[in-house]
Symmetry: C2
Subunit: 413 residues, 2 copies
């Protein structure tokens, strides 16, 4: 049977009716609904000659053995955020399953082909994303930190995953899964507006942005809004306002997709009759080039010190989180471009703002690439998340072509 992209769209709809409700998808990792979705996936692949295995981190592997043990991996994640969209994560898996079926039905491939359904990409329940892929990739954070995580109901992470047969202490043993990996492919919705604005269905992803995430605290002096002359004020909000505007210039001056965001300012005392004493500002900066990312941060910090001096207030920077840029494989990016052009006429190369399981695999040294398919209005992590069915079908066809090219590359390499 040849590849049937339309079947993937039907399967996505079937999954939605099985694990969604009026508010959206509910396949939060380490819940029964998630397990139901994964069991439904396994059942759909039961007729193929696959080895099926759940690894020590809870990742599900569907292996089609080839003439060589060197393996081409196709990945995705069945888990969703609460009230999630119908595509984020499961499009990747179901498209991969369709490709695996097509390859399997053609007989034994020259290299091994494996579909992986990563455990807990979203981190929705415990606030820790990329659980399964970071365990397999070898970057899983200090396990003492994971042990302390509890969900909203007070259940500790180790207890929640134990209910699914996972022993946190052994999760990093999932690293053995990547020993034979020769390439990793992942399709995902863009979750941004770039492809839609270019009127293109598909793009080849260059890598994931490096991220600098900081909390900036501006400290001035509370003072009565009626009795304090303007020139005697030390207004913390003024510093935050200047920086909120300046970071936009930093992003535009840096270019190459640079983004800087101030996601919020919390003002204290925050009442109409007082000058703001303390303003806590969130900052997120992203770039694909580590040097440019470092420059953006340095410039924001330098400007902030100038603003603090102008306003006679204090400024303090606290790093919340950071990650370096992770670049995908040049050869695979070229193959992805070819595959996209063959099915859609033209391609576009773009970075990924959000992180993905692919970043963990690439960090582990496995040649990696992603395909993005257009998102309508850039929306995701909401039931409003959507992509045109014809674009979904094109994305399955492109992943299939990319898989064929990658198998050839690995087989002959």
């Amino acid at each position: 049977m040849p590849l049937d992209p339309s079947r993937v769209v039907s399967r996505l709809e079937e999954l939605r009716s099985l694990t969604g409700d009026v508010n959206g998808e509910q396949r939060v990792a380490w819940t029964e609904t998630w397990a139901k979705g994964r069991a439904w996936l396994a059942e759909s692949l039961a007729d193929l000659p696959l080895d099926v295995e759940r690894d020590e981190a809870g990742n599900d592997w569907y292996t089609l053995h080839g003439d060589s043990d060197r393996a081409v991996l196709i990945g995705g994640h069945m888990d969703s955020v609460p009230n999630g969209g119908w595509l984020d994560g499961c499009l990747n898996v179901l498209a991969g399953a369709e490709v695996l079926r097509r390859v399997a039905e053609e007989g034994t491939p020259p290299v091994t082909v494996r579909l992986v359904d990563w455990a807990d990409e979203e981190g929705a329940r415990f606030g820790r994303s990329l659980f399964g892929s970071s365990a397999a990739g070898g970057s899983m954070a200090d396990q003492d930190e994971l042990r302390k995580l509890v969900d909203g109901g007070g259940v500790p992470l180790p207890e929640a995953i134990a209910a699914f047969g996972i022993d946190l202490g052994r999760a990093v043993d999932a690293r053995s899964q990547l020993e034979s990996a020769a390439a990793y492919l992942e399709l995902h919705i863009e979750q941004g507006p770039v492809l839609e604005s270019l009127d293109l269905p598909l793009g080849a992803v260059l890598g994931t942005f490096g991220v600098e995430r900081w909390r900036i605290t501006w400290k001035g002096q509370a003072a009565h809004a009626g009795s304090t002359p303007m020139e005697q004020r030390r207004d913390a909000l003024a510093g935050a306002a200047k920086l909120a505007l300046a970071i936009r210039d930093i992003a535009r001056d840096t270019g190459d997709g640079a983004v800087c965001t101030s996601g919020g300012v919390v003002c204290k005392p925050g009442i109409v009759t007082s000058v703001v004493e303390t303003a806590e500002q969130l900052l997120d900066q992203r770039h694909l080039d580590p040097g440019k990312l470092a420059s953006m941060l340095a410039r924001a910090q330098e400007l902030s010190r100038g603003f603090a001096a102008e306003e006679r207030i204090d400024v303090d920077w606290e790093r919340l989180w950071s990650i370096e840029p992770i670049l995908f494989d040049d050869t695979l990016i070229g193959l992805a471009d070819e595959a996209i052009r063959e099915v859609a006429g033209s391609s576009h190369r773009l970075p990924s703002g959000p992180l993905h399981d692919a970043a963990e695999v690439a960090r582990a040294g496995v040649p990696t690439v992603m395909l993005f398919v257009q998102s309508l209005r850039g929306l995701s992590h909401t039931k409003l998340e959507d992509t045109r069915p014809e674009h979904l079908e094109l994305s399955v066809a492109a992943l299939d072509r990319l898989a064929t090219k990658t198998i050839d590359w690995i087989a002959t390499g």
Copy 2:
């Protein structure tokens, strides 16, 4: 006995030990501690030939009858905010009591002199300030609105004041108290940094600022901080940041003591990974000139519409509260200046940013003036509120001189 300004400082300390604790003064209106402070005041005046009366709004009047029924009023308030300072409100009353004692001990004055201790100036328990003076002045808000007010423990205002013998329905009958009023004098701490910055102990107050108080809602579009290019964003925080900076130019360009404050911005969703969709911004503008106040508001609104257009976001203005400027009496301002110069060498005229009971009396048509005494670091409504004892004594002496000048003016007018 001549005037004894140092006795006022001793009495303030005595009151603090009676009704304060480690956190500050606790004479919140309509509480037992407040009643205790008021009873202590009444007792201290019991030896003087005064008529003592509590009016329908709970204001306490101490009347020294003179040759004429035309009355010079000296006012203040014994109530404080929770954890309040040792001067706000009660300095005025205790200084007035000292002046009344001095006048009484000199025999029958040519005009009647009355000390008034207004009920619930602060509005700390029910969020409605100037209760007693607005009842007497005739501007008391819609009583249906007052009937709905409840304190933090769920007690309705009518019930709380009934416990002190006050019938809300009859409170406005307190208006009769001002029928004989010929002048109103009030001493108060500045609650701002102006006199301290000029190194002056005392100032004559020109009136209370008009106030425009608004909530401004900026509405953009939430978007992923990683996947949304800068040029495709509609960032609500950008509008709020631009306005927070622009209002400072508006105040400086307007001059004459103009102040504009943005006391806070609340951002939604307010997370580090999203462009701000909604920013709710507080704005407070004040001026002594109604035309200039109106211009400041119009300019802020016009600028905000420009910012909204630049950022492709929406802006909406909602008035929270406003009051017109209330100007004090020119003749009394001149007498206050004279009195200050006589006791302190030099005077300074300044507007009041905060409202006071004096504003309600002036609005009712009674010639009014206030004296400000220097506040250290501009602090009030905190136990850190303070004024040097020598400045407190000068303020009592100045109030006494002003009372004498005002009695002469009314007697001969």
